[in-house]
């Protein structure tokens, strides 16, 4: 009888870790293929379509970069929160609140101010909107011991309903012929794109700057040190005199704020008006969770994993259209990837050895 023995791995090289993660992703693709097959879809066709659609053509790649922008921003912010074991599942709502605040500034002052003033103002407002939405669960967690998973999720629903309430009611645009949605933003408030694509470069640059700064904060600053200590061992944090309230609030201010920036980018760079929540964000807040996890909670790596998952979103759109699959298909791919990444972590932390047992036993 073959027995498997699990032992702790003392140390792992970055190469081993990288290889394990790549193998997990490949294994996940096999699993996704099997699921496709069971559902009656040719797995080779579907999976190749996903990657051809996202990385295989110039058009696809441009779309991938476009979708990577919010994922990198949100994913980067989530690495900070997750590192402190603050499970912010509410990036979706924070993104929406960012979109609302950004759109409000754009609609109100866009006609009177030049772009170099209005755009920073919109991003600032969006950051604040997302950040405030992020502060609520942090406050509730520290002051009332409310589990942040639940509070952030509930806020997702509340934010989505709040946004809908605005666009069917007070903010409904005159140019929409009675359909929900605000008027278009004034030209000054619309972000420029790289010609021939939808890449709103202002947000792209902003995203990269943000994750770089965040990386420095995490690994070099006093605040980052406190975040890492809390995440490793909250009891030690308490003992070391780290102020949990302050730290949690700052973490969620940043994490929510970055999601808010992503919201402004989507509204001002892509849609140019505030529409239904499901139009503004195709689940970026949730996909970013996996982005952060694949990035091993390192903000800088979120750039790579963000582009990868943006590719899956774009490829997912491609197979939806060509194979007539529902939008939820991408969720299966994402969920499966996440499961296999977790499994990969197990092999990074533990060593398996196989050995034959001589004694007859059951």
């Amino acid at each position: 009888m073959l027995r498997i023995k699990v032992t702790d791995r003392d140390r792992i090289t970055p190469i081993q870790s990288l290889v394990t993660n790549i193998l997990s992703l490949l294994a996940a693709l096999v699993a996704v293929g099997i699921i496709f097959m069971v559902c009656g879809v040719n797995p080779f066709f579907a999976i190749s379509k996903i990657f051809m659609g996202s990385f295989g053509s110039m058009y696809g790649f441009k779309e991938t970069v476009t979708k990577a922008i919010p994922l990198v921003l949100i994913g980067g912010g989530l690495t900070l929160a997750f590192r402190a074991k603050f499970w912010n599942i509410g990036a979706e709502g924070q993104l929406l609140m960012g979109a609302v605040c950004g759109a409000w500034v754009g609609l109100a002052w866009g006609a009177y101010l030049p772009p170099f003033l209005i755009v920073p103002l919109m991003f600032a407002a969006g950051f604040l909107g997302g950040a405030l939405c992020g502060l609520i669960p942090a406050f509730l967690k520290i002051k009332f011991a409310i589990n942040e998973v639940i509070s952030t999720l509930m806020l997702n629903y509340i934010c989505a309903e709040f946004l809908t309430l605005l666009i069917v009611g007070p903010w409904k645009g005159k140019s929409r012929f009675g359909f929900p949605g605000t008027d278009n933003l004034p030209d000054a408030a619309i972000l420029g794109v790289i010609p021939g694509s939808r890449i709103h470069y202002v947000t792209l640059v902003l995203a990269i700057i943000c994750v770089v700064i965040l990386t420095i904060i995490v690994y070099r600053s006093r605040f980052g040190y406190e975040v890492r200590v809390i995440g490793e061992n909250p009891e030690a944090g308490r003992y070391a005199g780290i102020n949990f309230f302050k730290t949690s609030m700052v973490i969620m201010f940043i994490s929510g704020g970055l999601a808010g920036l992503a919201g402004v980018g989507e509204v001002a760079g892509i849609h140019h008006y505030l529409g239904y929540p499901s139009a503004i964000s195709s689940g970026y807040g949730f996909t970013a969770i996996i982005v952060a996890w694949l990035a091993k909670l390192n903000p800088l790596y979120a750039i790579v994993s963000g582009v990868f998952f943006a590719g899956i979103l774009v490829g997912g759109d491609a197979i939806q259209m060509s194979l007539g699959l529902p939008a939820a298909t991408v969720q299966i791919v994402n969920g499966t990837l996440l499961v296999f990444l977790i499994m990969g972590d197990f092999f990074i932390k533990n060593k398996l050895t196989f050995h034959r047992n001589t004694a007859a036993e059951c």
Partner: protein
């Protein structure tokens, strides 16, 4: 009906991550016998007994019961073979009642209405050994001694002929220890066999018939306790003569460093855990708090260092009121803290050694500039700490969880002393460490005293308290039952009664 007359472990070996914990161990025990398993911390006693109880699988060797080889691969099978074990850290569910804890593993527990239906049986069984327990009480409401009795009943109810007790006296008052030994002798008279793990020589001499001594995972001796003397047993255990009497020179105490007035603190369950405690500590003084753990020591230490809220009363550090200040400001006022359960409180296990070396000091000017940390200086400081406090580590670039407990403790102590605090609060600093590390840490505390620092030492180890402390307070159920001078021999002999709360000064 007895299942075990003789038990033998032959050539048992076991290693963890390549480090041998047991090597080629032989051990024998027979009915009506109490066997002592003696050895220092880390000698492999607990590992060996966990193998016998089926929690670990040996890498090699076999176990024989009544001369026949048996396979014990889980606690279930060891219970079926008539083996019971009382672990050092009780394996009781704190939030469950006594009866629920017993029903959990009792083989005759019925499926439906287990609590009501075994109640009478349990109470009757307990009376056989002159125990009194309230089956409806939650475990967290019980004293350590009572919890231990629940553990013993759990084992005996399942028909344990062999009872393994791992460091059973470490959490008991001297009076409770006597009570335990009476029970063990009763059991022996009824034909049970007992294996008693301990590192305390007196206990082994008191109750054991035979003793097997372990050192670094190997058997170094077997003997009848009759005719043995303590000194030769100690030599066998440590491999050299013990020098436990650390020399403490006489120093007159200096100015007042810490002043605690009528302190009241609540515990985790919201019940009063420190009640009206007052004392002063001076420079050049080590002030010890003795007592069985769980009597409010942890809460007292946490209240002084700012981790826990003070409900009423005052704490002054060098004349400054630090009551309910945040831990960081209390640290800055000159109070540092070596916490109990060093892994749980004192370190962030996944961070590097140098990250952990500044756990309470990262806000200090010398380690940071504006909002950023100065890692060059931090690494320099860490290297110095590692050298000064003899922390054995391959480099300072390792995750601290890879270090042994003793080395982690040396780093923590070094970290807390390096800034020369006016007061060091040290909770069980030598708990679970080997003799070498223990001696070293004790010397460091005395050095601190000589340099003009004050130390507030919490310890369960009376020997340690008497060796190091100038004055000793005894804590029982949240109160100081007395403060005495360690040179006062007459009162020192009463310390056991004070720990049990039956004597007060």
């Amino acid at each position: 009906m007895k299942k075990i007359d003789t038990l033998e472990m032959r050539d048992i070996s076991k290693s963890f991550q390549g480090v041998p914990a047991n090597q080629g161990i032989h051990l024998q025990v027979k009915s009506g016998e109490i066997l002592g398993l003696l050895g220092e911390n880390g000698a492999g006693k607990t590992t060996l007994m966990n193998i016998l109880y089926g929690l670990y699988q040996p890498d090699g060797g076999e176990i024989l019961i009544n001369g026949k080889s048996v396979k014990i691969d889980s606690p279930t099978s060891s219970i079926a073979h008539g083996i019971g074990m009382v672990h050092q850290h009780f394996m009781l569910v704190q939030n469950h009642s006594v009866i629920e804890n017993i029903a959990l593993g009792y083989k005759n527990t019925p499926f439906f209405f287990p609590k009501i239906r075994i109640r009478d049986q349990v109470v009757a069984f307990a009376e056989k050994f002159n125990f009194t327990i309230d089956p409806a009480k939650k475990v967290w409401q019980l004293s350590a001694g009572e919890q231990q009795r629940v553990e013993i009943i759990k084992a005996l109810l399942n028909g344990a002929d062999l009872l393994i007790l791992d460091e059973p006296t470490s959490v008991l008052t001297p009076q409770e220890i006597e009570e335990l030994f009476r029970i063990l002798k009763d059991m022996k008279a009824q034909g049970h066999m007992v294996i008693l793990i301990s590192h305390k020589l007196d206990e082994i001499m008191d109750v054991c018939d035979r003793v097997t001594v372990l050192q670094k995972g190997k058997i170094v001796g077997n003997a009848d306790t009759k005719g043995m003397d303590k000194q030769s047993l100690a030599r066998m255990m440590i491999g050299r003569d013990v020098l436990f009497n650390v020399h403490r020179e006489k120093i007159t105490a200096g100015e007042k460093v810490l002043c605690v007035q009528h302190l009241h603190v609540l515990g985790d369950k919201g019940l009063p855990c420190v009640k009206d405690v007052s004392f002063d500590i001076h420079r050049n003084e080590i002030f010890g708090v003795a007592g069985v753990s769980g009597n409010g020591q942890r809460e007292l230490a946490e209240a002084i260092t700012g981790i826990r809220q003070v409900t009423s009363g005052k704490v002054f550090s060098q004349g400054m009121d630090i009551t309910n200040m945040c831990p960081r400001r209390i640290y800055d006022s000159g109070v540092s803290h070596v916490p109990e359960e060093r892994i749980k409180f004192g370190i962030a296990p996944g961070l590097y050694l140098y990250d952990n070396a500044i756990l309470k000091q990262h806000h200090l000017k010398k380690f940071s500039r504006n909002m950023f940390l100065e890692y060059d200086r931090i690494k320099q400081h860490t290297s110095a700490l590692v050298d000064d406090y003899r922390v054995a580590t391959p480099s300072i670039d390792v995750e601290i969880k890879n270090l042994s407990g003793g080395n982690i403790q040396k780093l923590i102590l070094g970290r807390e002393i390096s800034e020369a605090p006016a007061l060091l609060v040290a909770s069980h600093p030598t708990y679970g460490l080997d003799v070498g590390a223990t001696e070293y840490l004790r010397e460091q505390l005395l050095k601190r005293r000589k340099e003009g620092g004050a130390v507030l030492l919490f310890s369960e180890d009376l020997e340690e308290i008497f060796e190091l402390c100038d004055r000793i307070a005894v804590m029982f159920q949240g109160e100081f039952t007395g403060i005495l001078d360690s040179a006062d021999d007459k009162r020192a002999s009463d310390i056991g009664l004070m720990m049990a709360g039956s004597l007060r000064f």
